[in-house]
Each structure stands twice: as C-alpha cells, then as structure tokens.
Amino acid sequence: MNPHVPVFVKIDEYKDVLDTVNLVKGKMVEARSLLHEIATLKEEEDAELEQWQSNIDEIESKITAIDKALFADQ
C-alpha cells in the first residue's frame, strides 16, 4: 500500500465515518473518566491500608506498654 496515494470516501459513507469517529471519541472520553475514577478509588484504598498499618503499629506499642507494666518486674 502506498501511503501517499489519496483515498476517496463516498459522501454518504463519509457521514457514517464521522459518526463512528464521534462514537469512538465518546467512548474514549468515557473510558478515560472511568479510569480516572478507578485510580482515585485505588488511592483511597491504599490510604485506608496505610492507615491500618499505622493503627496496627499503634496497637502494638500500646500492648507492649501494657505487657511491660504487668510483667516487667517478674
């Protein structure tokens, strides 16, 4: 196929092409928007997991303090 040779499209088919291109564009916008929302939710999930990590660290330190207070001198 020679890329320099022009291609002609019938005028009635051209409308179909335009409609389809618009459809593709619309779907692209939709996909991008969904992906953005998914990424945001993923960030929220990651933030929750980080918070859990911090909570577990805090609980651990408190339990260690309790353990020390109860059994340190034994």
Binding site: V24, I59, A69
Partner: protein, 138 residues
C-alpha cells in the same frame, strides 16, 4: 508491679496478688488499643464499600472498552478498503524455507490440532497479534 501476700484465713491456701502501679494509665492504654481496633474495623467497612465501587467501575470500563473495540471495528469497515501489499516478514520467510526443506527430505511433522475452546484471553491475544501483523505489513 508489686506482689503481695494476702492474710491467710484458717484452712485456706496462700493467695498472692499482683499490684499494678498505674492502674488508670494501664486501663487508659487498654481502652485506647480497643478504640483503635474498632476504628480499624470501621475503616474496613469503608474499604469494602470503596472496593465494591471500584470493581463495579472496572466492569463498566471493561464494557466501555468492548464498545470501543466494536466502534473501531465499525470504523474500519466503514472506511474504504485499500489493497494491501504486505511486506514479507521474517517469520513468513522462515516458514517458506521450512516448506522447501520439507519437500526435499524429512517427513513433515503433524500439525497439532487447534484447541477447540478459545478463552477470552486467547481471543484477545490473537486479535492483538493480527493487528500487530497488519501494522508491520504497512
């Protein structure tokens, strides 16, 4: 912490008690640990909800990508077909050579039958390979 012996009543065994030095502080620490645990459980409910929403959106995205694929295929069909003159790829060349070699001598190895059930993943892989082949041929 101090251990203390209680006064022994008649006929009873020795009872020992352990003294807790800062009982209020200890109780406070315990309550705080409990509060954090509950907060984590509360956070889990929120996490579950977020994850559920993300899964729903992922399903929607999958559906949108399928629609997009269909729309692109439609665009391909609507555009005029142009006669293609694909360049011979290396793979095709090597296949030709194998074919020549087979005529001369050794027995042709039987081609394994194609699997009947094609998974969605295999289908997509084939489509990708086909598109890449077309792109290389351009």
């Amino acid at each position: 912490m101090v251990a203390a012996k209680a006064k022994k009543a008649a006929g009873q065994e020795d009872i020992y008690y352990v003294g807790v030095q800062q009982p209020v502080e200890l109780r406070r620490t315990l309550l705080e640990a409990s509060r954090i645990t509950l907060k984590t459980l509360h956070s889990y409910e929120r996490f579950k909800h977020i994850k559920q929403r993300r899964l729903e959106l992922t399903g929607q995205l999958r559906s949108t990508m399928k629609d997009l694929g269909k729309a692109i295929a439609k665009l391909k069909s609507v555009l005029p077909s142009v006669p293609e003159t694909p360049k011979p790829t290396k793979q095709a060349e090597s296949l030709k050579q194998v074919g020549k070699g087979a005529k001369k001598g050794a027995k042709a190895t039987p081609i394994p039958p194609a699997p009947k059930q094609v998974t969605e993943l295999q289908k997509l892989e084939r489509e990708i390979a086909s598109i890449e082949e077309q792109m290389h041929a351009m």
